[in-house]
Homo-oligomer: 74 residues x 2
DNA sequence: ATAAATTTATTGTTTTACGATAAATTTTTA
DNA sequence: TAAAAATTTATCGTAAAACAATAAATTTAT
């Protein structure tokens, strides 16, 4: 499972969704979908912008959790 | 600029493109395009599979280089 | 309460992944 | 070095999904 940590990076940078939107250049609606992990793919051009504006690496934005991680045995 | 390090991870794991293809489930052609950084976007489902099979994180596969990094002044 | 910020929803367009396939090229091996 | 195997590149078609534009709903701040 891949999760998106744009929200975490925004918090670390004390940056608002509005400012991220302005600087990345997508619409607010789409930045919001991205931030909340509601996308199924991402363009490298967009990831590039996010890394630039948030001054971070793709690994700060995308995280992999192996299947079953954090689950309870049954 | 975002670069793709699937080739690096394959080398680290001593894994062939053929085996990666077999285990990830895409066609060889598409794995090759991915491996050689010739895609403009990636589905999270695909990134997930890659991380699973290569036992790594997105950050091992995707890397951001700020514009102008490594260039000579002029 | 109300204004601002954010999220969610809808529709349409464009981009692009991906499959299937085949040909070209490179690498390995006998 | 010739054949075989692996990898890359190319083409075409289809399906998926980003993204824009917009508006409405919801949440948060003032």
């Amino acid at each position: 499972m891949i999760i998106i940590n744009v929200d975490v990076m925004l918090a670390k940078r004390k940056m608002s969704v509005t400012e991220l939107t302005r600087r990345v250049g997508l619409t607010m609606a789409n930045i919001s979908l991205l931030k909340n992990g509601k996308v199924k793919a991402i363009r490298l051009a967009t990831l590039d912008k996010l890394c630039e504006v948030l001054a971070c690496q793709p690994g700060d934005i995308l995280e992999y959790f192996p299947d079953g991680a954090g689950e309870v045995e049954e």
